[in-house]
Symmetry: C2
Subunit: 345 residues, 2 copies
Amino acid sequence: MKRQEASENGRTGAVSIRSVAERAGVSIATVSRVLNTPDKVSQATAERVREAIEDLEYRPNLFAKGLLTKRSRVIGVSLPDIHGEFYSELMCALDDRACALGYHLLVSSNAHRVERGPGNGFALDLVDGMIVMLTERTGVDIEGISKLSHPAVVIGFDEPGLEVETIVVDNQTGARKAIEHLLSGNTPDRCYFVGAHRGNIDSDERLNAFCAALRERGHEPRSDQIARREFSFDWGWEWAEGMIDEGLLEDVAVFAANDEIAIGIANAARDRGVDIPGSLRVVGFDDSRLCSLLRPKLSSVRMPVREIGHAAIEAIIRRIEEPDSAPRHARLATTFVQRESSGLS
Amino acid sequence: MKRQEASENGRTGAVSIRSVAERAGVSIATVSRVLNTPDKVSQATAERVREAIEDLEYRPNLFAKGLLTKRSRVIGVSLPDIHGEFYSELMCALDDRACALGYHLLVSSNAHRVERGPGNGFALDLVDGMIVMLTERTGVDIEGISKLSHPAVVIGFDEPGLEVETIVVDNQTGARKAIEHLLSGNTPDRCYFVGAHRGNIDSDERLNAFCAALRERGHEPRSDQIARREFSFDWGWEWAEGMIDEGLLEDVAVFAANDEIAIGIANAARDRGVDIPGSLRVVGFDDSRLCSLLRPKLSSVRMPVREIGHAAIEAIIRRIEEPDSAPRHARLATTFVQRESSGLS
DNA sequence: CTGAAAGCGCTTACAG
DNA sequence: CTGAAAGCGCTTACAG
């Protein structure tokens, strides 16, 4: 029935603002006002229009609306990756906040590159703003991002004088605490750093904290104390296997640049009979759910993932709604969380 | 410079198809053709237009385009949740495939409900189609989904005669293998099922497989052999603690309805000194990455997550592009993966 | 408070 | 192969 009436109108059979107007006996302008500026419409009229809308199950065409308002209430999210606990949690936080504020998320892990050329059909042009997370120091194209037609918020990269809003994490503080903790039980020359490849922003910063702490104790880190490849379980595993093979993984402390690496190390150690934390003390980074799932439970440095997500959504919405406000630069704290894997309660 | 020229035109300063046309000395229709049906344009003209497009960095307004074509190349994805290994992997698979096929993903875990009323500003109307994942038997509103203005694909729920395309998993087969494996080492009266609440489709199906297998061995499952609450680590933990307190967790086999529950159980057992798999054998479900990270490694039933994701994208695109084709109904297999936690190599 | 009208930036028959 | 024109479904000054 309703469907029937609906398709009376327009050529496509879809319910348009016109059908609502006809049914309510008003102009389409009035229907529009009922929807967008209800206070400019008389009670009675508004009521009639609302009924018509309901009867017809009318829903405004968002393309037409967007064409005029240049708004879609969609936020683009570009991540270096989607997989893993960290991104999973981040997505949740983004989604929750966006949803609460009436926005939707257009997500992609494949769309960093500010693609040239129009043919690409980049749906990204539908968004009101972009949240871009960066993890690599190179190939960043912050230029491109800030020249984007939409406002943008960058997660993970900051630099003095940047014209875009940024949200970064203070790797330093948490890392420092973790390393101090390791140094309270092991001498500096028996401490190791296992991280991702050079150029990864977080890994590099965590490494810096590591080196600084060792130097403060008067020990210049040897190159064999620093191992870098990638944020993966396998890499941690491989590193630990190598160390064990050389009889080196005894009475040492390891600061891993993320939890996955730490878990790889811990598993290898366990499988090869190295006692944790007796003979090997390990601390990870991220404080993902995995930390408490493992045995021994993994000490780690907490990343404020939800805070990052919430801040990013709030920031991008602020920039969308107040484009002329000055871009802010947030820095969120990390905190050391001690558990079993690093002993010395 | 370029920017300058760009803003010569239109009131907004944005580059429109008009500015491109002027610069190339053609009509806007021709510009449009170069972009959409290049074969209908002469080489020379096309070349000039392309240059203008490049110089001006023109990108078509997707709202205007969508208004005409009713296409955005955006696929809506509605999930019951975003968190956890399963959804994380699913999102990856969806994103990869969508990206490869030139589509984008509009994701939400908060948008199942086919919201009434227009005011809601549901950006979902911007999508070309929806992928909806269902996990609960009740409150499903398949009706609503199939009446959506866009094509839809449902993951996780199937029923004879459904008008929407569906993709489900064959819980039966994999679960059956897992339980047979457990029954090869424990008597039916010493087997337990720990799952999610009644009404959860997957949990129920896995339970059915469990019961069927026990009955085949001539044992009617006692009510205390079946425990249901939720898909969580904590629930598994709590259940195991209870069993241990009553001295019941000895020489038993547990089929957990997902990996998280299984891990909770395994951890509780470990912390309380129950030997796995010596005294307790456990099998999970999902075969998430966690299985290999734990010690002992967790036996599980593999969910074809990537396959589900890829199939869903391909299905929705097929429905978008060929709306009149008959909806298909796919059923993907699950397979048992034996590891250490269930012993009996 | 309400309506007629212009226009957002495109696509697509329709002529030529 | 190309252009003039209509129109997609809305919003928003502008009058009244």
